[in-house]
Structures are given as C-alpha cells and as structure tokens.
Amino acid sequence: MNRADPPHIATWMLEHWTPGLRNDALAGDLLEQFRSGRSDRAVAWYWRQVFAAIASGFFKEILNHRSAIFFAVLWSMVSPSWVVLSTNVEVHSRALGLMWQMDWPWSSICAIALSFSTSLLFIWSGMALYLIPRMSASQSFNMRTLVRSLLRAMPMFVAIAAVPFAMSLFFHARHGQGIDRRTLTPFNALTDLRLWAVVERLFNLPILLYGLWRATPLLRKPPGGLPR
C-alpha cells in the first residue's frame, strides 16, 4: 500500500457496504483528507471514518424504511393465523382432498406446490396491502410496477423456503410436527407463542423486509414520468 493510498479494503467497504445511492463525493472527501496528511494515524482515522459512514448509511436507511419495517413485523405476526386458515381450507376443500388420492410422486409434488404457493400468497398479499395504499396516495399506482414490486421478494423467498424444504426432505423434520392445526382457530393462532408459530413468523419476517425494502425505490415517482 502506498502512503498516499488509503487501505484498499476500507475503500472497497465504503463503496460496496454503504446502503443507498453511492456517495462519490463522500469517498472523494475522505481520500482528499487522507492524502492531505492529517497525521501518522491517518490509516486509523480512515478506517474510523469508513465505519462511521457505513453505520450512518444504515441508520439513514432504517429511518427511511421505518414504516416498511413496522409493517413487516406486524404482518409476519399474523402468519400463524394464515397457516391455520389455509390448513382449514385444505381440509374442507374437496378439490384439495383429491390431491391426496393421487399416486406418488404427484401427491407429494402437489403438496409441495400448495405449501409454496400459500406461503407466497401470504407474502404477496402483505406486500400488496402495504404498497397499494402508498402508490395510490402518491398517485403513482400502476399494475406493472406493483407486479415488479411483488417479484422483488422472490430471491429471498426462494432462499428461505429452501431451508424448511431441505429439512423435510433430508431429515424428515417439519416445524410444528405434533400440532394439529385443525384444532386451532386463526384468532388463537395470532397469540400463539409456541415454537411452530415463532418459526413461522421468523420465516416470513426477512422475506417481507427484503421485499418491501427492495420495492420502496419503485414507489418514488420520477419528476414528470411514470415510476421506474
């Protein structure tokens, strides 16, 4: 490392780990101050500044997304009720009853597809509930933007949904085993604090957070045009 160059790792962290728009002016200011020979402790100073800039960037992002965070926490609290509701629909639906009468592997494939789609429907309905009023309020509602926003949750959904799926596939373990959800009502599932309900909430929270976080920039209406 040249004396005139700040630590490369710190610069890389500043450029890649600072959330929000890349702030070239800030990076340039730090470099200018570093090169103007502040002191023999310039490297330590540079590291401190980089960490402070990253922390301040995260703090600002959290403040900017506080309503999305609040909604994600609230909606994920409801998820056990959704599971109970979908189990009840499953039990009482004739069409879904036929699914279990199919031969293997079709019965398993249908069960997996049903489980994935009910989980995804929960995520998407939550996101729509949050996004539609905001889009309408800013007069920027359009169906294409909404669909794009909902699709933004998919990478995290696929990544997180793979965990319980792999567990059930390889270890034959499924959260909530031994609990007959048919005996529960959506209302008492809302206040259920047993492990299956907590896992269900923890499963949905990061997906919702990620989806809403990534959808927020789409809500901003560019001057004189449609949302990006």
């Binding site: 002016a25 200011d29 200018e32 101050q33 500044q49 301040s56 960037g57």
Partner: protein
C-alpha cells in the same frame, strides 16, 4: 408566522459553516471548520447525513463540481444555504438568544 421546525445543534453548526465558507463549502472544508470550532474529530459520514437531511428540508442546495486527481477522480459536492435555510438560522438564533438572556447569571465554572 415563523416556521416552528427549529434546527438541531449539529444542523445549525453545519449551516453556519456552509454560510461562512461561501463558495468553498464542500465536505472537506465543512468538516475542518467544524473540527476547528468543536475541538474534536467529525465523522464525514454524519456531516453528509445531516447535509442530506437539510437538503431534503430545502435548507441547503447542492451541485457537483469538477473531479480532481487528489480525490481519485471523484467530484466535489458544493453546498449553498437557501433563503429558507438562512431564515431558519436567524429564527433559531433569535429564539436561542432570547432563552439565554432569560437565564439567571451562570457561574463561570458551570
């Protein structure tokens, strides 16, 4: 009626530094100005965060300058106080002065 959104301590310091630096108000001199008067290090990130807040409130405006080699080719971002910002500074000063004058005399070592 005067705007009731009074400035925070750090925001006020930054606005005063930007006013004083006039055409030269970009990140580095603003930080140096604050460090010189406060007597301690300032985080450049927190200065930018405050400046962005002030810009969102319409109290400062910014424009990009030229990029220079000593900055790794990165442009300077110059800040200027808007007329609303200037009014806000005067209003905050007026209120603070009234509050100080309303205080009984403080002991020197307080």
């Amino acid at each position: 009626m005067a705007d009731r959104n009074y400035l925070g301590e750090f925001e006020l310091m930054i606005l005063l530094a930007v006013i004083r630096l006039e055409e030269e108000a970009y990140g580095v001199p603003i930080c140096r100005e604050l460090e010189a008067h406060r007597g301690r290090d300032v985080s450049v990130g927190s200065v930018y965060a405050a400046l962005e807040r002030l810009e969102a409130k319409g109290l400062v405006s910014s424009s990009l300058g030229d990029s220079t080699p000593e900055r790794g080719g990165k442009a300077k971002r110059y800040f200027r106080v808007t007329s609303t910002g200037l009014r806000q500074v005067h209003e905050t000063r007026r209120v603070l002065s009234k509050l100080w004058h309303a205080l009984p005399k403080l002991k020197e070592n307080v």
